[in-house]
């Protein structure tokens, strides 16, 4: 077992044990914080496929986070008001079922990622960053002006959505759902990195010329990565909205994209558990520093600066050393 595997296992175990302990000590707030970590980490696992593996600096991943959130908000709000979403050409009704909401969130963000990716991946570097940012902001302002779904105020959902066999209002049970989904995404991401697709995508990041001369198209590889990445972040958005029982345009804002990217960099870009370590650190800092000062982001910024300057591998890189080459 490599050192990184050990650290990853310890992280996963800690993320599981903390809420279990909190449950035993009747501290639901801690469970909610852990749930938030799991959900943000999931969003980060999504972005990390594009950012870490594909080298695609997307500053518009809030678009998928928001689409996931609004998929949940729209479906659930119709279900709670007993109104149909549309009755023509076919009747579509809302739902409170999490699996259905997830499916809609994943499909909707996947399609959006395909459209955004198909256009923005024709550029690279700073242009790519700006175009993804622009798409994110388009959706942000669209959400603000979408009066039917709360406009600037967003949408409140009174009761958390349901999952067969579980009481989702119980914090520990809802945590379990998010934790299992996070593990599944991590497993998928680990396999993806070692797959032929992962190998080619990773090579396209390092040397697109090489990938072309062996007969593959970097554009197609990146597009698929972008779509997969958007789908996972979209799923996280649906869960995040369910955690808060609230959706607002903020989920689409570029600050959201930035925060996800910041905590991935803190945790370790391109490292499997980078998003997990980063999300945990982010939430802990927000909680501790946020209690000390309203301007805790100053300290976060300082930390980010230090990581970028002195510890490029982030938390995971510092603890586990340089990534081992696969056999």
């Amino acid at each position: 077992m490599t050192r990184e595997t050990l650290i990853n296992s310890a992280l996963a175990l800690a993320l599981l044990l903390v809420p279990l302990l909190a449950y035993a000590m009747d501290e639901p707030f801690i469970i909610t914080l852990a749930t938030k970590v799991a959900i943000l980490a999931l969003a980060g696992v999504g972005l990390n496929i594009a950012l870490g593996l594909g080298g695609l600096v997307s500053l518009g991943h809030a678009a998928f986070f928001g689409i996931g959130g609004y998929a949940m908000g729209i479906l659930a709000s119709h279900a709670q008001s007993y109104t149909a979403i549309t009755d023509w050409p076919v009747l579509i009704e809302g739902t409170k079922s999490m699996p259905v909401i997830w499916l809609v969130a994943v499909v909707a963000s996947g399609i959006t990622a395909l459209l955004i990716g198909a256009l923005s991946l024709r550029t690279s570097g700073v242009y790519f960053i700006m175009i993804t940012l622009a798409f994110g902001q388009m959706l942000y302002y669209f959400a603000i002006s979408w009066a039917a779904y709360g406009g600037e105020d967003g949408l409140s959902i009174y009761v958390r959505n349901s999952f067969p066999g579980l009481n989702t209002l119980d914090p520990i049970q809802f945590f379990a759902i998010t934790f299992v989904l996070l593990l599944a995404a991590l497993l998928f991401s680990a396999r993806l990195a070692r797959s032929p697709f992962g190998l080619a995508l990773n090579a396209a990041r390092q040397s697109p010329q090489r990938v072309e001369t062996i007969g593959l198209s970097p554009y197609r590889l990146r597009l698929l990565a972008f779509v997969i990445s958007g789908m996972i972040t979209g799923l996280a958005g649906a869960l995040f909205a369910d955690l808060n029982r609230f959706v607002s345009p903020t989920m689409f804002s570029w600050q959201t994209s930035g925060e996800i990217m910041v905590f991935i960099i803190l945790g370790g870009t391109a490292r499997l558990f980078g998003p997990v370590a980063g999300a945990a650190l982010f939430i802990i800092l927000e909680h501790i520093l946020g209690g000390l000062s309203e301007f805790w982001h100053i300290y976060l910024g300082l930390l980010l600066l230090l990581v970028v300057l002195f510890a490029k591998g982030g938390v995971i890189g510092t603890l586990a050393g340089r990534e081992k080459a696969h056999d």
């Binding site: 396999r191 993806l192 070692r194 797959s195 032929p196 697709f197 992962g198 190998l199 080619a200 990773n202 090579a203 390092q206 040397s207 010329q209 090489r210 990938v211 072309e212 001369t213 062996i214 007969g215 593959l216 198209s217 590889l221 698929l224 997969i228 990534e323 080459a325 696969h326 056999d327």
Partner: protein, 252 residues
Amino acid sequence: MTDLQTPILETRNICKSFDALKASQDISLDLRAGEIHALIGPNGAGKSTLIAQIAGGLKPDSGSVHLNGRDVTTLPTAKRARLGLGRTFQVSALAMEDTVLQNAVLGALGAQGRPFHLFQSALGNASLRQVAEQALERVGLQDHARTRTAELSHGQRRQLEVAVALTLQPKAFVMDEPMAGLGASGSKALTGFLDSLREQAPILMVEHDMDAVFALADRISVLVYGQIIATGSVAEIRAHPEVRRAYLGEDA
């Protein structure tokens, strides 16, 4: 056997200008089965521009490029590679963070043409691995399979470049200064290897190392100011007065 008269790779009347600069002027050259065809010329003669048009990075203003009799002028680089064009770069274009084996498997993956497997393991795939390991063995890098590419010496990176190209089982090689930066012994070793490679597929190479060119080339074409001023055997080129004046810098 391929008909020796049929060129595997051919450019017909290629012209390319960048504003006032005529980088390629009516260039026709061919690469026949079993030969090494060296392209020489002073810096700025338009060699890289010509290679880019053959490999697919640049589109000629007029004229055409043919691979195995097929017009590939408008095809992108990736498609030309799938049709059998194996290319190596002057400055190594390898995935430096990956291992040697991973780079070779990447080539095998390109040859297989199905990169969208998300769940199987790339290095666990027996057929990919076999192709990759054979190529590494061919160039003598089998003992470095697990070395990170960034840790290879300059000469070893050259070998890996060739190995990756080999995984594609190309119909023709296009090599941009394969000897660049190699020491005397490295250059000699690679010369021996390329000599044996021509049986597998002909090689069109741009090269500055004249010892290597004279040792390897069946034919030499001389490019000066975007024009081919002469094509011929080593002896013919050495004796060519215009070449001596323009390129070898001697008085005829």
